[in-house]
Symmetry: C2
Subunit: 410 residues, 2 copies
């Protein structure tokens, strides 16, 4: 089943999944006074899988969430606060995260997870956050677009999407429709390994734990791990995947289940669209590059090369200027610390072959400049004869990016 066969739900999001409610409030953590606290609550505990940041100084809510999922794989409610990441806040930060969990479980039902995003290194104004949880918990509703807004920081738009998918009959279970919906946040510090990016994706399909882990890992590899805004990873990144627990005699979807491929396609499609929305909202973004690297010795090598190009300041400023300075792309690729077979090297920009057969190619410079000025620029790089392939989306590095990030905490 391809993503095209999925049925997208107009204005869909996490709340498109049956059984989910949400609420939002202005807890007063964001200096702007905007919505900054969201609760997402299922009507019964869900099976949970998560991918967390690999940053060596993971924030308190990440450390706590990891521990909690190690003990129990069920989650019913998720509290997310924006404006303060509760990261690098010492022992007090862990206490604060723990208090957020307890309050959320008290008000909304547990088990609960908490996620935080915003400025790092500043203690959480915990009383405001706890009051916010109290206030929001009285407003839980199946329709609450404010909850999608409440988790944002420098984002300029909410990130949500949902699909319906037809799952085939499996054993005693007849064919049935399932929904996959998600909400995400992120615009700066987006990078493979998911810097300062939060996403919560849920489905009403019942999934068994091992299958859920594999579904999440494959979907993240084809979505959030393929985007970069500024090469940094954050202390707080998290992607949660939550699936309804089976009811009664219902058989959950496990490894080898005929329903798995369709569900995988749906979850990947949702995460891919969330990731694309994040990259399109990249801080100061005016243009996007879709980079494909092929012919590397292996996937790891292809990813290293793609990452080196996608995080190069010189490539990203050239992209900002609409300047097809393709030599920078090759120089950045060659800067990855990976062997490159110069005799196989070929580079296409928007379908125009600019380098190949051992040297620069003849091309129409004006046509190339026009192609490079497109909102999305496709770059295809062949680095050898190997089977390694990687794809990566990256934003340009514009003056606006610098302005946004120079003034963040002031």
């Amino acid at each position: 089943m391809s993503a095209d066969e999925l049925e997208w739900i107009e204005d869909g999001g996490l709340l498109s999944v049956p059984g989910w409610r949400a609420a939002a409030t202005r807890s007063g953590v964001k200096p702007s006074g905007g919505y900054d606290l969201a609760l997402f609550v299922a009507d019964a505990p869900c099976r949970a899988a998560a991918v967390w940041t690999r940053n060596a100084l993971a924030a308190a809510p990440v450390v706590l969430g990891r521990e909690r999922l190690r003990r129990s794989r069920t989650v019913r409610s998720v509290a997310i606060n924006a404006g303060n990441a509760n990261a690098l806040t010492g022992p007090r930060g862990f206490e604060d995260a723990q208090r957020m969990v307890e309050r959320t479980e008290l008000r909304c039902g547990g088990p609960a997870l908490v996620l935080s995003t915003g400025i790092i290194g500043v203690p959480l104004p915990i009383d405001k956050v706890l009051d916010g949880i109290d206030t929001a918990s009285e407003r839980l509703s199946a329709a609450c677009p404010e909850a999608y807004d409440a988790i944002l920081t420098t984002d300029t738009c909410p990130k949500t999407t949902a699909v319906e998918v037809e799952l085939p009959a499996a054993g005693a279970a007849p064919a049935h429709r399932a929904t996959v919906g998600g909400v995400a946040k992120g615009s700066g510090m987006i990078h493979p390994n998911m810097a300062t990016m939060l996403a919560v994706v849920a489905t009403d399909a019942p999934v068994e734990s091992t299958a859920l882990d594999a579904l999440l890992r494959d979907a993240v590899d084809a979505s959030f791990h393929e985007i970069t805004v500024d090469g940094d990873t954050s202390t707080n990144d998290a992607v949660l995947l939550l699936a309804r627990e089976p009811r009664g005699q219902e058989t959950p979807i496990g490894p080898g289940d005929p329903r798995l491929p369709a569900l995988q396609a749906a979850i990947t499609a949702v995460m891919e669209r969330l990731a694309r929305t994040i990259i399109e909202d990249g801080e100061g973004r005016t243009r996007t590059m879709e980079l494909v690297v092929e012919g590397a010795d292996g996937t790891t090598q292809a990813r290293e090369i793609a990452r080196s190009v996608a995080t190069s300041s010189l490539v990203k400023t050239a992209l900002a200027g609409g300047d097809p300075n393709w030599g920078r792309i090759l120089a950045a690729a060659a800067n990855a610390g990976v062997e490159i077979d110069g005799s196989e090297l070929a580079l296409d920009i928007q379908g125009v072959r600019v380098f190949g057969a051992h040297g620069p190619n003849e091309y129409d410079a004006r046509a190339l400049a026009q192609a490079f000025a497109a909102p999305v620029v496709a770059v295809h790089l062949v680095v050898g004869r190997g089977a390694g392939r990687a794809r990566m989306w990256t934003t340009d590095l514009s003056s606006d990016y610098v302005r946004i990030n120079s003034e963040y905490s002031t």
Copy 2:
């Protein structure tokens, strides 16, 4: 002997070293019509050592230079052209570099090396360059400041320096003074492993090959490898160290020679000053960070952490904004892929302890903001109890950086 005991030569440069002449011309390669070709010629062949770029797609002059030095360690003349890097130019690029070498040897005496800097991926206008070598070779002079200008690209000022150093008596050789002088180029793409940076340093002290290699390696480690502007390395980086050949019965300075420490101090001081001048001329730079990482498991780990901080767009934009958002420094350090001991973590900015003893510290926010607005901001990061230490200089990421690099090739 410390660098303080060296005698700096006012307005010194490569031409301060006795026996060197230079010439410059406007070959027409730079669209601006400025000086773009320089010749540096010694009155006799010198002993040579070089550090070349590690970029996997090294430019034609780099590949050729590497080969030539492998065959013979002597160099008498160096031709440098700016405006076109002769990189990614295929087999024709190698022919062009070879023709530059031959013409330089014909006009100035060999052996010759050639270096190129400028736009990459565009064939060299070789006839202009060869004519330029002809023209310049007729003007060789012991005083030619234009030669320092002719090797620049986006640099806003020439980079030159020279010192005199007293070498002690050694065997039959009485104590004598020696001169070390150098010229460099670089402002964008500066990074450890020396992206788009050229430097030629010469001395009239006679040095034996093995000692010369060690002198160069140690000096580069303490200078050019400690600076970064934008994290990219280029196809063309090169640092040359050229020492006079011994005359008659003269004993060259070899390993263990009592003259070696003083000479090492002089060469390191010259390269350090050239590197500092490069960082101060970093593209769009308004502020510099001097970062020291201590307590890592080893030097490699310390360097990885320093590099992760020094190349972080979020750290560099905070520096541009004079914004002491120190959480970004810790997050970037933790993003290096190296274990960090959170319990030992300590961060000082301009001597103000902002993080330590397991959490954020109390400090005067206004005083910190003022300290962070200094032209050079000292950042000291302790990541554990190991012996690994690294230092790195980095520039801020300003709107001007983006402007300069968005418009480079258009």
